[in-house]
């Protein structure tokens, strides 16, 4: 292929003063071009992903010893073996944060995908009116970053200004306490659901639109109801899109940080170690123990990897059965 190319170059560019020189330059170019094009991405990937990951792993096996145990003692960094990991894994606070994160993640993913799928199927329903308007409205929260969404919802939760609380009071009912220790997990989950449903709905809806309508027509001739078509044709056909978006949602849940951090300014029930990522932040920057924080980060990363591989494997089996 390359020889044809370079021959063609000679034929195609008779005006080139020294065809030989031009050809060698061009041949070099075709060979090095992909590396040149990839160079910025690879440099950034190395500097800001690979090295930080390697550095985290390295730090997680290190620790600082203070020479004579006093505050002013000389601090020296040294190997720690697995001691950071044993510290983390026996830390009740870490497990509480993990447990909270799992409950939060399950609530958010189940409700968010339940809503996203329902809305996508309804948008795809031929008798739905003004679908474009509802689609755009439900998508709007995607443009609002998590921190700002949390500020907005924070005020809606805050008793002094909350429209919901004032509505309850107007009706003479006891208003709910959105920011208390028993409810704030759900209030935080609501912010994530609000922010993420529209985006996932759009992806599922796009996948639904890609299904050829002949399939439904055939099913309708066979007397399938809309509900039956949704469950037996539409949902199985968009399953791959759903798995993909679900993996991304689960990864985001494991690293949840923005919403609870923003909400913590308004709720005393959210402590500085409320979620694993918040505990990592506080260990690294408040307690200045980057080694412990590194070990926690590595554990979270392993969990992320495990969850995404697990979901992929489970669904591959599921799809294998479907085929």
């Amino acid at each position: 292929m390359r020889t044809v190319e370079s021959m063609a170059a000679e034929v195609g560019r008779p005006e080139a003063p020294v065809p030989g020189v031009r050809r060698t330059r061009r041949r070099l170019n075709a060979k090095t071009a992909p590396y040149v094009l990839l160079a910025p991405a690879l440099a950034l990937l190395t500097a800001f992903m690979l090295i930080p990951i390697g550095y985290s792993v390295w730090l997680s096996f290190r620790t600082v010893k203070v020479a004579d145990g006093s505050l002013l003692g000389r601090r020296t960094e040294q190997a720690a073996g697995l001691s950071n990991y044993t510290t983390v894994l026996t830390d009740r606070v870490f497990w509480e944060a993990m447990g909270r994160m799992v409950v939060y993640g399950v609530i958010v993913v189940v409700i968010m995908f339940g809503l996203a799928l329902t809305f996508a199927l309804l948008l795809d329903h031929p008798r739905t009116r003004a679908a474009g308007l509802w689609r755009t409205s439900i998508f709007i929260p995607y443009a609002v970053p998590g921190v700002i969404a949390s500020l907005m919802w924070g005020f809606i939760y805050l008793p002094a200004v909350s429209p919901i609380v004032s509505a309850f009071e107007a009706l003479g009912l006891a208003p709910p306490d959105f920011l208390g220790s028993g409810t704030v997990l759900f209030s935080t989950a609501n912010i994530a659901i609000w922010g993420g449903t529209g985006f996932n709905m759009i992806i599922l809806y796009t996948a639904l639109r890609a299904i050829p309508s002949e399939i439904y027509e055939a099913a309708r001739i066979d007397g399938c109801s809309d509900l039956r078509i949704a469950f037996s044709i539409k949902i199985p056909m968009i399953a791959p899109a759903m798995v993909m978006t679900m993996i991304f949602a689960l990864i985001a849940m494991i690293q949840v940080y923005n919403e609870p951090t923003a909400l913590s300014t308004l709720s005393h029930a959210i402590t500085s170690t409320w979620m694993p990522m918040m505990k990592i932040y506080s260990d690294a920057f408040v307690l200045n123990n980057t080694f412990l924080a590194a070990a926690e980060s590595v554990l979270l990363a392993l969990l992320t990897l495990g969850v995404s591989l697990g979901v992929m494997r489970a669904t591959r089996r599921f799809q294998g059965v479907e085929d």
Partner: protein
């Protein structure tokens, strides 16, 4: 189409009434969903029209026309010698310039991966695929520790540079390059003697452009959403993006209800332009790649 309408008509004997009813109920569910998504934003709009006093006394969803909005905007713009304006500009730098550069870098990488055979291609692609699974927030702390070793924390670069690498953008660009840049056109260009970089710039990039709008929007939101990175990298208030700025404002204002209206107005001013931009750009979204083409 004629075939399609026949069975619907035929089915009408049994269920026309219920199916019309269902058409209304499907719409009703969507209306409820739309209200859930839009009401918090409308509440922010009405709340920002109120003076600090009215916020606590008047009914929440009724806007006020007593000059509250103008007062709030003035307070917002005057806050700390106009630092809010700086936050807007910083956000434009991080999310706007950052995203443009990410798109360019990702497009070049995706194009190279899609359109060339070269040593190491499979390995590089696998590393990038693995990188898709790593959320940027997980890297913020080690990035901070490393950048502090070279004394770069606290600078604009410390937020901009880590934002420029997006494995997902590279992955999507590769999909778009595969789908929209025909090899024959590149071959023809080569026969005409065009250099490879020139081919990428004037042929590849141009053909990938519709897809790159999607990459742009996704990455814009990703940078706009990455709160932790600027939060830990930047300590100077003048260099905050909007998210960190508003957070710090609320942090200060939590015990100071007079600042509530300023925070609310700030939130409104921050998100309204973006909401409008997204609604306008909606038709350029090519999310089919996300939903269908992700198998590679």
């Amino acid at each position: 189409m004629a075939v399609a309408t026949a069975p619907v008509g035929a089915r009408a004997s049994g269920g026309r009434r219920t199916s019309t009813g269902r058409g209304l109920s499907t719409t009703a569910v969507l209306v409820v969903g739309a209200l859930y998504c839009v009401l918090p934003v409308t509440w922010i709009v009405t709340a920002s029209t109120k003076t600090a006093g009215e916020l606590f006394t008047t009914f929440s969803f009724a806007p006020s026309f007593n000059g509250g909005l103008g007062e709030n905007l003035r307070d917002l713009l005057a806050y700390n010698d106009g630092v809010f304006g700086r936050w807007v500009l910083n956000t434009l730098l991080f999310a706007g310039v950052g995203t443009l550069l990410t798109v360019l870098i990702s497009a070049a990488a995706g194009y190279a991966l899609a359109k060339f055979q070269f040593l190491g291609r499979e390995l590089i692609f696998k590393v990038i695929l693995a990188g898709v699974l790593i959320p940027p927030i997980a890297l913020a702390i080690p990035q901070y520790l490393l950048l502090s070793k070279v004394h770069m924390t606290g600078s604009y670069w410390s937020v901009l540079l880590p934002s420029l690498i997006s494995p997902f953008s590279i992955y999507l660009s590769r999909v778009f390059a595969q789908a929209s840049v025909p090899t024959e056109i590149l071959e023809a260009g080569r026969i005409d003697g065009a250099g490879e970089l020139r081919l990428f710039w004037s042929v590849g990039l141009r053909l990938m452009l519709p897809g790159l709008v999607t990459v742009f929007l996704l990455q814009f939101v990703a940078i706009w959403n990455n709160f932790m990175l600027p939060y830990i990298m930047i300590t100077d208030e003048k260099m905050f993006p909007l998210t960190v700025g508003l957070f710090s404002l609320l942090n200060r204002g939590a015990g100071q209800p007079a600042l509530y209206t300023t925070v609310i107005t700030g939130a409104l001013v921050s998100v309204l332009p973006l909401i409008i931009l997204f609604v306008v750009l909606q038709r350029y979204w090519r999310l089919d790649v996300l939903s269908g083409g992700l198998k590679g």
